[in-house]
């Protein structure tokens, strides 16, 4: 299949890359309720964790990073691209894995769903097929190629959701609580998958074990980043604060 690309998208991609993701005085509100308040950060590390209590604003923070949410005020730049004005180019660079894989899998069978993202990117048929095969093999889904997605186990669904994003080959991937709905075995499996990724990752999680080996951890509370450092610095501090 040949898919036309709009000239505007090519122009978006041609923007000279900056370094990582930059948030400049970002505020976001749902109506009157402010969920993120005055966040200024530069994210350049390969592995970044985000922790915080329920309702702290961390999921909204994650959604800012690939333009699913546009800040009420302030600016989010991904490699120099503004999420407000160059959202398509941003989403090509930043993949997003949701907490509930059932909401992310949109095609009835495994292989068809893996092909969805690359198709949307306008890749030719043979390349789409190559990527589908690669993902089926890498994540042990080859035997499930034509299986209905709703019959997969929870762990397999999350792997399919991750594979669906990886098939688009983004430079960075944001995970929004990817292990919350999984049992211990599948949590470890997904943790291994994240650990082996060559892409830069931002992982929002309640599972603090996931963050060992990360370069940086942000603690979000009431819409603000209240702690920012290495896991060794921030995780024990966060645990003590939650007690």
């Amino acid at each position: 299949m040949r898919w036309g690309r709009r000239p505007a998208e090519e122009a978006d991609d041609a923007v000279a890359p900056g370094a990582g993701i930059e948030l400049r005085d970002v505020e976001h509100a749902y109506g009157e309720r402010v969920v993120l308040d005055g966040i200024s950060l530069t994210l350049t590390e390969r592995r970044i964790g985000v922790v915080g209590a329920n309702g702290s604003g961390k999921s909204t923070f994650a959604r800012l990073l690939n333009g699913l949410v546009v800040p009420t005020s302030g600016t989010v730049l991904v490699d120099g691209l503004d999420t407000r004005t160059q959202v398509r180019a941003v989403r090509r660079r930043v993949g997003f894995v949701f907490q509930d894989p059932d909401a992310q899998i949109v095609h009835p069978t495994v292989a068809e769903d893996l092909a969805f993202g690359p198709h949307n990117q306008g890749l030719p048929d043979d390349e789409v097929q190559r990527r589908v095969e690669e993902m089926l093999g890498r994540y042990g889904l080859a035997d499930h190629r034509d299986h209905p997605a709703h019959l997969l186990s929870g762990g397999q669904k999350q792997l399919l959701a991750i594979a669906g994003v990886l098939a688009m080959r983004p430079r960075r991937i944001v995970f929004d609580e990817p292990t919350t709905l999984l049992d211990l075995s599948n949590t470890r499996r997904v943790a291994r998958v994240i650990d082996e990724l060559e892409q830069d990752v931002v992982v929002v999680t309640h599972h603090l074990d996931l963050l060992s080996g990360f370069d940086r951890v942000l603690v979000v509370e009431h819409g603000r980043v209240i702690a920012d450092g290495t896991p060794a610095e921030t995780v024990p501090w966060y645990v003590a604060r939650m007690d």
């Binding site: 036309g4 009835p108 068809e112 789409v128 209905p148």
Partner: protein
């Protein structure tokens, strides 16, 4: 139709989805010219033989799709026995059975993406009215994907209500189900954005799916 594809390499599997849907439509029209129960019974037998022989489908794959319709076929026959006669009733029932079996063969041998691509191709003329065929195809694929998921969520709500003493299926189940479905719809919308659905080009030039057997 819901995930009933049976992988295979038969000649029917390899045939283009558009050809299969075209033949199905032609069969649907052609059967209305047949008035003989014997000929109609022959048509049922031929279609079933084509499914098992040509398409190399297991009996079960055909039976799964036909089984839920038996009560309706029986009702239809009963209705005809009351208002017309056995001959007319049996022709009507056998006609439906033939079409059901043929449709079962098409869905069992054709990937959803290939069927969706044909629908998009058929909807292509609607572009002049501003309709995006790719969107129609996506809606169709997502409908097939989410029907079992919504059924699963409904079952969970039923279990939760039963665990709290409500043993009958009640209308009240509709409210939590609606809330869950709306919440899921919001996330699905985000997922579509994140996976580039809005980037999908307006034109899909070929009908075949990119995913090989």
């Amino acid at each position: 139709m819901l995930s009933l594809y049976v992988p295979g390499e038969s000649v029917v599997h390899r045939a283009r989805a558009g050809l299969k849907l075209g033949l199905l439509a032609a069969l649907g029209i052609g059967l209305f010219w047949v008035g003989s129960p014997a000929v109609m019974a022959g048509a049922v037998a031929l279609v079933v033989l084509a499914g098992v022989g040509l398409a190399r489908l297991p009996w079960r794959a055909l039976a799964v799709q036909v089984r839920p319709v038996w009560p309706w076929l029986a009702l239809l026959l009963g209705f005809h026995l009351l208002v017309t006669d056995l001959r007319t009733g049996s022709v009507a029932v056998l006609r439906l059975l033939t079409l059901l079996a043929a449709a079962a063969i098409v869905t069992a041998t054709t990937r959803v993406t290939a069927l969706v691509a044909v629908i998009e191709w058929l909807a292509a003329p609607l572009r002049v009215f501003g309709v995006r065929p790719a969107r129609i195809g996506l809606v169709l694929a997502m409908t097939l994907r989410f029907i079992p998921l919504v059924a699963e969520r409904a079952a969970r709500i039923r279990e939760a209500q039963a665990a709290r003493g409500a043993h009958r299926v009640r209308l009240g189940m509709a409210v939590p189900l609606l809330i869950q479905v709306l919440r899921m719809a919001a996330t699905v919308g985000e997922a579509l954005d994140a996976r580039g659905a809005d980037d999908a080009p307006a034109r899909r030039p070929r009908r075949r799916t990119a995913v090989a057997s």
